[in-house]
Each structure stands twice: as structure tokens, then as C-alpha cells.
């Protein structure tokens, strides 16, 4: 049995847990409701009602997907240790790294599936209201999916060594900071102090630059994106996820399950 098969077995079990969790259906239903509510909001505007509808839809998809990712992700490893289910799992011929990667992949597949349902709702509502849909929408949705991969990896990292409450604070905080870090760097660059310039630049390099995955406005305006707008964030996101998972594995490998 190969490592990939073991990782996939853990991933599919994680997915099965999510599929049987009724609370996630409630969140998903609410997310679709909010995407639909964009129709009412856009009708209040005289101009660019389709753009407002899509802006609102993108925001709802991003917010609810991240909320579900944090909600499930912060308990991902902690609950296995807390409920001691990890004892029987790790006594099998399975490394800790395989277990952690399996949990990560399982949650990511879950979150992506939920996001796909939201995207279907978005496309259906856009088509019904005659709003524009183009290749930039595909790019924007793909990059939200990459952003979610980072959020799940951050949640996974914190879940490997701290409580769900702290992990949700940290993950939520990093997500919020990740969307502000580019602005912070630009503000710092305008500062006369060299120390502030360097500090904000360093902070920008360390924190995930999540705005590099945000092409919602361009898509809603129907702008055509360059290929590098698509590939560079994917490469950056993949590298960031790899570093986060290596850190999580390093911490998880050293843990004692007393």
C-alpha cells in the first residue's frame, strides 16, 4: 500500500465526516441564500446592478468558504487528539505526516466541493439576471480556491498544537491580515522611517498576501486578465501551502499524546 493510498484513505474519511455533519449543510444553505440576496441588493441600484450582484456573490462565496474552512479546520487535528481517535489510527502502518496530509486533503476537498456548489448558485443567478460571465470569472474562482488552500493549511498548522478557540483566533487573524498586508506595505513604503519601511516589507513577505488571489472586481467588470495573473498566484499559493504543511508536520511529529 503506497503512501498516497493511505493519505487518500484518511482524506476520504475526513470528507465522509463533513458530509455527515448537518451543521455544514446549514452554513452552505445560508451562503447560497446570501448569494441570492444579491439580486435584491442589486435591484436598489440604478446602474451596474449586475456588477453589484456579482461583487456581492464573490464576497459571499469568499466569506462563507473561509468561515467553513476555519470552523472545521481548527478542530481538524485537535479533535482527533482530544477524542483519542488518533491512538488507534497512528498504531496502524501510517506515519504522522501521512495522517496530517490526509486530514488536510480531506478538508480541502470538502471546502472545494462546498465552494463548487456556491459557484453553481452564482452562475445560475448571473445567467438568470443576464449578468456577464467570462474567463476572468474562472480565474477569480480558481484563485479563491487557492486562497482557501492557504486558509485550511493555516488552520491545520494551528490545530496541530493549540486549542480550537486559539486556532480560530489565529487563523481568522492571519486571514484578515493577509488581505491588508499589501496596503500595510504600501503605507510603510511611504514612511520617512527606513525601519518602518523594512518592517512592513518583511511583514508582507512573511504573511500570506491574500489580495494576490482577489480578482473579483476585475471579473465583475469583465476585464481580461493576463496569464501571469493566474499562474503566479498559483505558484505563490502552492509554495506557501507547502511551507505551512511542513511546519505543521514538524510540530505534529514531535507531539506526545499523553
Amino acid at each position: 500500500m503506497t503512501s498516497a493510498v493511505r493519505i487518500w484513505a484518511i482524506a476520504m474519511n475526513t470528507l465522509r465526516e463533513a458530509v455527515r455533519n448537518r451543521l455544514l449543510y446549514t452554513l452552505l444553505f445560508f451562503a447560497i441564500f446570501m448569494i441570492g440576496a444579491g439580486v435584491m441588493l442589486s435591484s436598489l441600484s440604478y446602474a451596474e446592478s449586475e456588477r453589484i450582484l456579482q461583487d456581492f456573490g464573490f464576497a459571499a462565496i469568499r466569506f462563507f468558504s473561509v468561515a467553513i474552512a476555519i470552523f472545521v479546520g481548527v478542530t481538524l487535528i485537535h479533535r482527533e487528539v482530544d477524542r483519542r481517535t488518533v491512538y488507534t489510527i497512528l498504531s496502524k502502518p501510517l506515519s504522522r505526516a501521512e495522517f496530517l496530509l490526509g486530514k488536510y486533503v480531506g478538508l480541502l476537498v470538502t471546502i472545494w466541493m462546498q465552494m463548487a456548489i456556491m459557484v453553481v448558485a452564482f452562475i445560475a443567478i448571473s445567467t438568470m439576471t443576464g449578468a456577464l460571465l467570462g474567463s476572468s470569472h474562472a480565474v477569480a474562482f480558481t484563485l479563491i480556491a487557492v486562497e482557501l488552500a492557504i486558509v485550511v493549511a493555516v488552520a491545520c498548522l494551528f490545530s496541530a498544537f493549540t486549542t480550537p478557540l486559539l486556532a480560530s483566533f489565529f487563523t481568522g487573524g492571519i486571514w484578515a491580515v493577509g488581505h491588508l498586508t499589501r496596503d500595510l506595505r504600501d503605507i510603510g513604503a511611504a514612511s520617512p522611517s527606513e525601519a518602518i519601511q523594512q518592517a512592513t516589507a518583511l511583514f508582507h513577505r512573511l504573511m500570506p498576501d491574500l489580495e494576490s488571489f482577489n480578482y473579483a472586481t476585475e471579473a465583475a467588470h469583465g476585464l481580461v486578465l493576463a496569464p501571469s495573473d493566474f499562474w503566479l498566484p498559483i505558484v505563490y499559493g502552492s509554495g506557501y501551502v507547502a511551507i505551512l504543511l511542513l511546519l505543521a508536520i514538524g510540530i505534529f511529529e514531535r507531539r506526545d499524546f499523553l
Binding site: 484513505a9 465526516e17 497512528l90 498504531s91 514531535r254 506526545d256 499524546f257
Partner: protein, 318 residues
């Protein structure tokens, strides 16, 4: 050191320090313990609560890392993973995913353990049958009772047909019938050529099934050897029951033969060393007493265990 062909588990000078709470102070819970488990035996790891039994088992399962020392199973370091295909583990009060059914979880564990798809389903059904959970196979685990979860825990430990089985308090949570069934199952595993390592504090179970034991008290091994040798060890003693034994004669037995006296109605029971039996009988009969019975005194496992615990407690204080 090379393991002998029959040595399945080898524990050498394992030390484990833990940090209780957030402080820097460490507490030593295992003080350089060593023992070995031989092929095809049922090995009892016995000790009172908090002695270090589960900690030792967690070191063997790779769930915690020893501070110092070395542990091997089937010649492999416990930190390796591939060899775990050959071992099964039942944790104390096992926990499972409540959203899965009994059949689903056994199939999941079988898959993780490398049981091929062709035989997986058959093996799962066989195990469900063995542990008496066939009727509950399609029920979600959150509906299972503690006893059913314990049976399921045993099933998952055996689903991949391992060579060595580690059981942490296997009789815990079972009713009397369940205990007998698990005891029979453990004996059947030995009959099939498997090696069983069993953590327990139930001495009756040890006497019933174990070939050898190690007694751990306060993180130190106090005894390692055969169960038979353990109960037969020490100086042979006999219990002599007298009727109408004069009080002064009884008191003289205490002084001269270090007898332990106990009054039973109008009778007196004197526990003395076997080597002074003739003297005691002669003096008693000479004083006009009647000998009611003479019987050898066997040191019970319980007595041996309690004395080991007491010794451990006294050494711990020093």
C-alpha cells in the same frame, strides 16, 4: 544488543519525563524500565493506577517518545511505521468516529493496515462475528454501549491478523460474560501462535491467562518472570489450626517460631514456617491441644502484588 529469535518486544532502560502543566519542572514517570516479551506468550504488564503501564504502552506504540532508552518490537524501532502491519493495538477505553458504522470503521482500519480489497470485506465480517457485533454492524458508533466499543476496539486490533497484539485493560467496561469471552479470545490468540501483551490491574485475569508478568510500581519494574514462579516464591509456610490451645503455649509460638496467630472461634490458627512444623505440632499436642488441620499456605498473586506495591511505595519515599 541483538534480540534472541524468540524475543518479540524488548524494552531497555526506558526513561520518560513529562512536564505537568506549563512549568519548566519535569516529572519522571518511567525510571529506566527494562523487560522483554517472548514469542507466543501472554505477557501481563501489571501495576496499580498511575504506575506507568499506559505510558509504557504508548512508548511502544510510538504515541510518545521516550526521554532515554530503546524499545523494539519484532526487532524494529518503535519509531518505524511499516512494521506496524504486524501489530495490533487496543487502547484503554477506545474512542472511534461516532459518524461511522461498525462495518465502515473496521473496513477503514483494514484499509489503513494494508488488508487487500479482495479479502477486506470477508475479514471485516469475520471479526464482527468473532466479537458479537454482526447485528450492530450497520449502526452508527455513537449509538454503541461502552462494552460494544470495547469489543469493536478488539476487532480493529485484530482486523489485519497481526503477529503481536497489545491490549490496554482489555476487560474494562465488559460484563462478566464479555470478560470470559475476551479471556477466551486472548487464549485463542496464543493458540494461533500470536504474542499478546496485556496491560491490566485485574489480578484474577493475570492468573487466568498470563504466562509471564512484569509488575510496575511508581515507574519502576518490581518483578519480571513467570506467574507460577511468582506465587511459588518465598519461604514455604503452613497453617496449623489447634483446638483448646492454652494461651501461654500460643504466645510461646509467637516468640519461638515467629508464628502469626489468628483466633477463629475457640480455635487458634498459627501460620509458621514449614521447617518448624514438627516442633509446633509437638509442643501443641504436648500442651493438651488438639490439631484440627494442617495445610500449606500459598502466597497469592494478590499478596505478592501488594507487597511489591508496598516496597515500591517505601522506596519512593526514600
Amino acid at each position: 544488543m541483538e534480540r534472541t529469535p524468540t524475543e518479540i518486544v524488548r524494552v531497555e532502560n526506558i526513561v520518560k519525563d513529562i512536564r505537568p502543566g506549563f512549568g519548566l519542572r519535569k516529572k519522571r514517570v518511567l525510571h529506566g524500565i527494562s523487560f522483554s516479551v517472548h514469542q507466543n506468550e501472554i505477557f501481563g504488564f501489571v501495576g496499580p493506577n498511575g504506575a506507568g503501564k499506559t505510558t509504557t504502552l504508548k512508548v511502544l506504540m510510538g504515541l510518545i517518545r521516550a526521554t532515554a532508552g530503546r524499545a523494539t518490537i519484532l526487532g524494529h524501532s518503535v519509531h518505524e511505521t511499516a512494521f506496524r502491519r504486524q501489530i495490533g493495538f487496543l487502547p484503554e477505553s477506545p474512542y472511534f468516529y461516532g459518524y461511522l458504522t461498525g462495518r465502515e470503521i473496521l473496513s477503514f482500519y483494514a484499509k489503513l493496515s494494508g488488508v487487500g480489497r479482495a479479502v477486506r470485506s470477508e475479514r471485516v465480517e469475520q471479526l464482527l462475528e468473532w466479537v458479537g457485533l454482526s447485528d450492530a454492524a450497520t449502526s452508527r458508533l455513537h449509538t454503541y454501549s461502552k462494552g460494544m466499543l470495547q469489543r469493536l476496539g478488539i476487532a480493529q486490533a485484530l482486523v489485519h491478523d497481526p503477529e503481536v497484539v497489545f491490549l490496554d485493560e482489555p476487560m474494562s467496561g465488559l460484563d462478566p460474560i464479555g470478560r470470559v469471552e475476551v479471556r477466551d479470545l486472548i487464549l485463542r490468540l496464543r493458540a494461533e501462535g500470536k504474542t499478546v501483551f496485556m496491560n491490566t490491574h485485574i489480578l484474577h485475569d493475570v492468573e487466568m491467562v498470563c504466562d509471564r508478568v512484569a509488575i510496575i510500581v511508581g515507574g519502576r519494574i518490581r518483578y519480571e518472570g513467570g506467574v507460577g514462579e511468582m506465587v511459588a516464591g518465598g519461604e514455604a509456610q503452613v497453617d496449623v489450626v489447634f483446638a483448646s490451645l492454652p494461651a501461654e503455649t500460643a504466645l510461646s509460638f509467637e516468640e519461638r517460631f515467629a508464628a502469626q496467630l489468628r483466633g477463629v472461634g475457640d480455635r487458634v490458627e498459627a501460620r509458621v514456617a514449614e521447617k518448624v512444623l514438627n516442633d509446633v505440632l509437638r509442643d501443641g499436642l504436648g500442651a493438651g491441644a488438639e490439631v484440627v488441620s494442617v495445610s500449606p499456605h500459598r502466597v497469592s498473586l494478590e499478596t505478592f502484588f501488594l507487597s511489591a506495591v508496598e516496597r515500591g511505595g517505601e522506596e519512593g519515599k526514600r
